[in-house]
Symmetry: C2
Subunit: 134 residues, 2 copies
């Protein structure tokens, strides 16, 4: 995994309400994903803060996570498999945390992030008063 110096600044939010279509499990898919992420983060990314959140308002694309970090873009991802995607998510966040601005080159992103991206939001501090021409 690449430089993880930024991992301790990052937060991984996991929607705990997300329920996968047709899933009859007692625990929501989102709650299972949170557990899997915490279990695997203990080995793969112990510095990372992993938080369960009641709702990220991406209800049509379970499971959903968001990653944020001071000075970096925030990314929201959906369509994530509750039982199989934890390692992929943590690997992707390792790449994210290794960048200055949170933007990982497209081809280096895990396929689950490329296909599942829901939105990205600039870092709050980055005032760009006039980007009309961009």
């Amino acid at each position: 995994m690449p430089d993880q110096s930024g991992l301790s600044e990052a937060v991984l939010y996991v929607c705990t309400t997300c329920r996968a279509s047709g899933d009859a499990s007692t625990r929501t898919a989102g709650a299972r994903l949170l557990t899997a992420l915490r279990d695997q983060a203990a080995d793969m990314a112990p510095e990372l803060r992993v938080e369960g959140i009641p709702c990220l308002s991406v209800c049509k694309r379970p499971c959903t996570v968001a990653v944020a970090s001071p000075g970096r873009w925030t990314y929201v991802y959906g369509d994530l498999d509750a039982d199989a995607s934890a390692a992929t998510i943590l690997a992707g966040i390792g790449l994210y945390a290794g960048t200055e601005d949170g933007i990982v080159p497209w081809r280096e992103r895990p396929e689950a992030f490329r296909k599942g991206v829901v939105a990205r939001i600039p870092p709050l501090a980055s005032a760009q008063p006039d980007t009309d021409a961009s």
Copy 2:
């Protein structure tokens, strides 16, 4: 409009790349929305920072905006009309800026925000180390 004391802290990001389906205009729908928002914000919300952003990665739901503010939730909205929604967006952000945490009661939100919500992300500072049960 409600208490706008928080408007000067908020930033409204507007995707300038968003192109509406079937729209043959030379300027993208997103660029037109940015202009409309800036024009109307001059009267309705002069304290608000309005920034054009090349892409918010919500490409399937043009036009797209995001609103962020220190200590408040960030919201991303899509499906916004480039030519008719500026006043509605600014009214909704006036409500947002009047709250402590950015969460406007559901029934008070503009219909365009209720239908167009793409995602919401907690404020970065709000550490909630263990919300497993939420």
